[in-house]
Amino acid sequence: MSTRVFIPRDSGALSVGAEKVARAIATEAAVRNLPVTIVRNGSRGLYWLEPLVEVETPAGRVAYGPVSAADVPALFEAGFLTGGRHGLNLGLTEEIPFLKKQERLTCARVGITDPVSVADYEAHGGYRGLRNAIRMEPAAIVEQVTQSGLRGRGGAAFPTGIKWKTVLGATGDQKYVVCNADEGDSGTFSDRMIMEGDPLVLVEGMTIAALAVGAAQGYIYSRSEYPHAIAALTEAIQGAYRAGFLGPDILGSGKRFDLEVRVGAGAYVCGEETALLESLEGKRGVVRYKPPLPAIEGLFGKPTVINNVISLASVPIILDRGAAYYRDYGMGRSRGTLPIQLAGNIRHGGLVEKAFGVTVRELLYDYGGGTLTGRPIRAVQVGGPLGAYLPESQFDTPLDYEAFVAINAMVGHGGIVVFDDTVDMAKQARWAMEFCAIESCGKCTPCRIGSTRGVEVLDKVMAGQDREANVALTRDLCNTMLYGSLCALGGMTPYPVLSALNHFPDDFGLPAAEPAAAAR
């Protein structure tokens, strides 16, 4: 019998040589005349162990990692096809503590299945949510999503069910479901992992959304930096069409849903939902005024559901297991789980899906194992380039939307970027302004001009020129941007800037903050 060997096709695994490993294993197996079936799965999210190769044994899947092509002959010698002993043997994958302690709901299948196989997807519980939804009234689907407490995972944390309800209630001959797969935030890669590792859960989530609001056409807008995600999605969509899960007659219901992938072109602002819709229409990604909401006048002026990848990929399990099952995870008003991404200078970087409530400290040390460089962690940025920098004193904050708002920070898309004690926080503040200047869509002055001015003023601060006055000017400028910007690019760039100033004044050549100022 042929042994199944799993070697990820995930771009992170590929970035450290998974393709060469796959080729080496295929070649070595052929030379030794050993029957193996290589499955190109997603990543388990334990990236410091990538390329992580798994072998199916009667006891379960045994992991080896990080494997390089040069290790392959020795692995065969050690009998790795039957889980043999070897220095890279990590034991049963499911027993690795980093993975074992997680609560994987949205990412339940990532790394386990063949991402583009509809049969494998169904064998692992896929399409059960859609099979339930197809028998329900649209309003009942919306109600389930509302009851689950799911809030948008793209950043703004708006209740998904309420958004859907607006689209369901809107009149229009044509409605759209759009997936925001622009994932521009540094430190985030969970959307990518879903698209590469379990794209069908996104396809299923979008199909359920379409049934819920009465849409017949869907678009996934992926960033162009994700070629492997685009390829996996495209393959998965073709499979779903062939199996009758997409197209003119979904599961014999007589309902149509067509889905296609569109690709961005390297503009961070196109992650903002209205800029994304402009881009999908073939225009410059300039932010629209709201109202009208996209739910009323969205793509091509029609009622449109626009949701993040993780939001949509969380819908199938809600429709499968019920709203209460999902809602039972989490804390306060943050219900369910969040795929958290540990990134930057971290020893064990990767994906940690946990119920809301896990603290930053647990994530950084219990999961992340501290920095990669072995130096102390000085600051972490949560929620992407518009998220605040947290000092050590805030590491006990639980991952919870409200708890983060209370410390002037944001959970955002759940990315945590770690910096050790060599970081210069004035430089990081300056970078926030610079990034805003690079990516501004140019529609409003506080963002377009303010960010460029911000870079100049911070340069002066860093050069020690009129320090107090220029810091005051920076704060003024931040205020103008906070209150005068049309969207969160200009409106939230002050978060990293002010948090750096407030928590790390020494880096700006300022005396230590008074506690009251630091709290602001």
Binding site: S186, V263, A343, G350, V417
Partner: protein
């Protein structure tokens, strides 16, 4: 200049193919520009009127789109494109040093092409590989945990690959 006058240009067949493939799709402009850039490595400014004409848009609109998006180039790049990630996670593990090394080794600034026409160096802001920083993308393939040494190996391989 009427569109007919330009069809003898070397880029014309690629542009015609892209237009034929996507013209009737809703929101066709980005797919068209992507396909042109995929085929040619850039979007020739002289093709803008042809595209505008086919889509019933003004030249200003098409030009506006080409210049708005960081990814579209108006000049042919080198035979290979290396994009170094300069976003926060990669900053935390020294992408600035990597960039300085790359510039010195290749003898170019960002957006520049090496003298032999082999490699164009560009910035990128996150490749979704932030757990294996510093990262770069070379001809569409992502590389993680890049060091100055692995950078040199990679660029040597690219040069060899022609």
């Amino acid at each position: 200049m009427p569109p007919e006058a330009t069809t003898a240009e070397p880029w014309a067949p690629a542009v015609e193919r892209a237009l034929a493939a996507h013209k009737t799709r809703p929101g066709a402009l980005l797919p068209i520009l992507h396909e042109i850039q995929h085929a040619l490595g850039y979007v020739p400014p002289a093709a803008v009127p042809v595209i505008a004409d086919a889509l019933n848009l003004s030249r200003a609109e098409v030009h506006g789109v080409v210049t708005f998006y960081h990814e579209f180039r108006e000049q042919a790049p080198g035979r290979h494109v290396v994009k170094i990630c300069l976003a926060e996670a990669c900053q935390s593990l020294g992408c600035e040093e990597l960039l300085a090394h790359a510039k010195a080794r290749l003898g170019v600034e960002l957006h520049g092409t090496t003298a032999d026409g082999a490699i164009t160096l560009e910035p990128v802001y996150c490749l979704g590989n932030c757990m294996l920083s510093p990262s770069l993308m070379a001809d569409g393939e992502i590389h993680g945990r890049v060091t100055p040494q692995s950078f040199d190996r990679l660029t040597a391989e690219l040069r060899e690959a022609r």
